[in-house]
């Protein structure tokens, strides 16, 4: 995809490597699959004058070798907590395309990246909570939750998402957060649907925790494996399994408390 346009003067190898990896790091943290990360890092490095780019995409780090005029450097960068942020993902890709088209220089691109990270909008927290609540209630309907339990699944998942946001902003471990939120949402969903007289209390308790199910990593895991990166794919898959276990511990505890389940 990288169009070899009239090449700019080659910049310092160190800077080319680090800037290209900054793009890759941000894309990884926004939840992009490795093929996208590889494509954009290569495009950015080529746009900055690199003649050859080799990238290793790991779960917690990126490593790159960049060559210009027969000289090369190899550098590594740490990747932070991986989440999902599509608007930032789009903004980073857009900036990479601008760099490629020559609309911004290497000196400007570092500042531009910082600006993009700072200025990309996010939905207000309360709006996300409600949207997630609605999503879980809809999930509940798909799983066969009756209308009596619909409202309590909505409320439980909304409150669960609120607490997840608060816990993660206090840097509580993501696995511990999963158990705590799953316990809370499941108990609230169970009590609410019981009070409403629902006959699908157990399903409601499961539906209320579906906000925690790691859909993006589980699809990325496969996508990475199918794209020839089984190491990263396996790492993502292990993460998915462990988070599922922690979510289930929360549901299990709530079932014990409420005496639901088998």
């Amino acid at each position: 995809m990288a169009q070899q346009q009239p090449q700019p003067e080659p910049e310092s190898l160190e800077d080319v490597a680090m800037i290209a990896m900054e793009f890759g790091k941000l894309l990884m943290e926004c939840g992009a699959a490795s093929a996208i990360v590889d494509e954009y890092v290569t495009r950015v490095a080529n746009a900055l004058g690199a003649e050859e780019v080799d990238l290793r995409v790991g779960y917690a780090s990126l490593a790159i070798t960049v060559r210009i005029h027969g000289k090369g450097v190899a550098r590594m960068r740490r990747v932070g907590q991986i989440g999902v942020n599509q608007r930032l993902d789009q903004a980073v890709r857009q900036l990479a395309r601008r760099l490629e088209a020559g609309e911004c220089t290497m000196a400007e691109v570092v500042g531009e990246l910082k600006r993009v990270v700072k200025e990309t909008p996010r939905y207000p927290g309360w709006f996300v909570d409600i949207a997630v609540g609605l999503a879980c209630a809809s999930f509940g309907r798909l799983l066969g939750v009756d209308w009596l339990a619909f409202g309590s699944v909505f409320a439980a998942a909304t409150i669960g998402q609120y607490f997840r946001r608060k816990l993660l902003s206090r840097h509580v471990n993501v696995f511990i957060t999963a158990t705590l939120v799953s316990f809370l949402a499941s108990v609230l969903g169970g009590i609410g649907s019981r009070l409403a007289g629902s006959s699908t209390v157990e399903t409601a308790m499961t539906a209320a925790v579906l906000l925690l199910v790691p859909g993006v990593p589980s699809l990325n895991a496969q996508y990475d494996i199918l794209n020839g990166r089984p190491t990263l794919g396996s790492a993502r898959a292990v993460w998915v399994v462990v988070i599922l276990i922690f979510i289930t511990i929360g549901v299990w505890l709530s079932q014990m408390v409420l005496g639901e389940g088998r």
């Binding site: 999902v84 999503a135 699809l219 496969q222 794209n227 990166r229």
Partner: protein, 180 residues
């Protein structure tokens, strides 16, 4: 074989709502949330029809993911959203989180001090696990097929039009080199 239109409409509506709700969580832009809903609705509609004509959950999910992957591939440039975004948001409502929880709960029940009907519990747990793995596998593969086909086409075109690079990639990277 029995098609229930009301059920299909119900599942489509709630599939769309679930996809849009998760779209907000994934910080998908306001103007693109609608398309997430379309992708989610399409996925659930195809899956429900698949189940109603007698398909298994896995095969119906595969057909639904294939449909979402293909439609997104066709309309992606017109809509201007990244493929990944719509694919993932559309298929999120089909990820079998509830089954996964039941499977793990079954394993917990097996290790209780006095397990009740351990043989039944084990079979049930294994069955749920297999369904989770096969369903997620079906979704991931279904989504990936359209884009992998397009990539293969692109790389053939690229090889035909671009001169060979001066330095070749190491052989260990061969699968990537051919896919890109």
């Amino acid at each position: 074989m029995h098609i229930e239109i009301a059920k299909i409409l119900h599942q489509t509506l709630f599939g769309a709502l679930a996809a849009m709700g998760f779209g907000v969580l994934f910080n998908i832009g306001r103007q693109n949330l609608f398309w997430c809903g379309v992708a989610g609705g399409l996925a659930l509609a195809v899956r429900t029809v698949g189940l109603q004509v007698g398909g298994s959950l896995e095969s119906a999910s595969f057909a639904a993911a294939l449909a979402v992957g293909a439609v997104v591939q066709m309309f992606q440039e017109r809509i201007g959203v990244s493929r990944n975004t719509l694919d993932v948001a559309g298929c999120i409502p089909m990820v079998p989180g509830g089954f996964a929880a039941k499977a793990i709960l079954g394993l917990f029940a097996l290790t209780a001090p006095v397990p009740i009907e351990p043989d039944k519990t084990l079979i049930m747990s294994v069955e749920y696990f297999l369904r989770v793995i096969f369903t997620i596998g079906a979704i991931g593969t279904g989504l990936a097929i359209p884009s992998l086909l397009l990539k293969a086409k692109r790389s053939v075109l690229k090889e035909a039009t671009l001169p060979k690079p001066a330095l070749s990639k190491p052989t260990g990277q061969a699968p990537d080199a051919t896919l890109e």
